[in-house]
């Protein structure tokens, strides 16, 4: 039996690393991967709490989070491809069309 605190601390650490990646990286694909990392961290805390509380609902939420993550990845990567085709860049600093 793994103590709940260990899993939740690991989850917090992974989530923080995901946020840090979104803040310091500029490549759009890497930003998407960091969002996936945050989703994975949340999944870990869902699973740990489901195990700790003997509740199957946590596992069901993980299932739905994974569904949303798969849809998000496919649409996000399609946007990256379309963006690369129209603007020839993958870097968040150069995607500034809204600035005019």
């Amino acid at each position: 039996m793994i103590p709940l605190e260990y899993s939740l601390t690991l989850s917090a650490l992974l989530f923080t690393l995901g946020v840090l990646g979104v803040l310091i990286r500029r490549n759009v694909i890497v930003l998407l991967m960091c969002v996936e990392l945050m989703l994975n961290a949340v999944n870990l805390s869902f699973v740990a709490l489901a195990d700790h509380l003997d509740s199957v609902e946590g596992l069901l939420y993980v299932f739905f989070v994974m569904t949303v993550a798969a849809a998000e990845a496919s649409v996000g990567l399609a946007i990256v491809v379309a963006l690369h085709r129209s603007r020839k860049t993958l870097y968040a600093d150069e995607i500034d069309l809204l600035k005019g």
Partner: protein
């Protein structure tokens, strides 16, 4: 033994996450990410979530990361160094901000849980099995979210095709 395995794979997961942040080449980032996801799958197994372990490996480490690698290969890889050199200030800002966030996320650990527990006890699991238990819930009380999830996946599929097409 379980705790030892937990520490090994937790270290591997954190190492993979750091690799995602530190690698210059997006393909190396993707490979580190696969490492993180496989380590997390093992952690799910240690938490008695066999079904989540299987779909983590198949959906995340398999399908989603394959898609990411495919897109990286499709597009050209220009190095990022020249840009990040100008960003030292915002990098420092990012580190400070995420350190604060980490401290904030650790606050709930001090709080006490409500003490409410579900019905997935050890003997119940031994009787029906974990996957059957999830299926009972998923096709019972959670049938509507399940169907909505399938519609969401269809929308994602059509949306990805529509967005990546050359001409609509």
């Amino acid at each position: 033994m379980t705790v030892l395995l937990f520490f090994v794979f937790a270290a591997l997961a954190v190492l993979g996450a750091v690799g995602v942040l530190a690698c210059r080449n997006p393909l190396h980032c993707a490979v580190s990410m696969v490492g993180t996801m496989v380590s997390l799958a093992v952690l799910y197994l240690l938490h008695h979530a066999e079904f989540i372990f299987a779909i983590q490996l198949m959906v995340y480490a398999g399908a989603v990361m394959m898609l990411v690698v495919f897109v990286i290969m499709l597009l050209d890889l220009r190095r990022e160094e020249s840009l990040t050199a100008q960003l030292a200030g915002s990098k420092l800002f990012g580190f400070v901000l995420s350190a604060l966030l980490f401290a904030l996320l650790l606050v709930p650990l001090a709080a006490r849980l409500t003490g409410m527990t579900g019905d997935m006890s050890e003997d119940q699991l031994a009787r029906v099995g974990s996957v059957e238990f999830i299926a009972e819930k998923l096709f019972g009380p959670y049938l509507l979210p399940f169907e909505v999830a399938s519609v969401l996946l269809l929308v994602g599929l059509v949306g990805a095709v529509a967005l990546a097409k050359k001409r609509l």
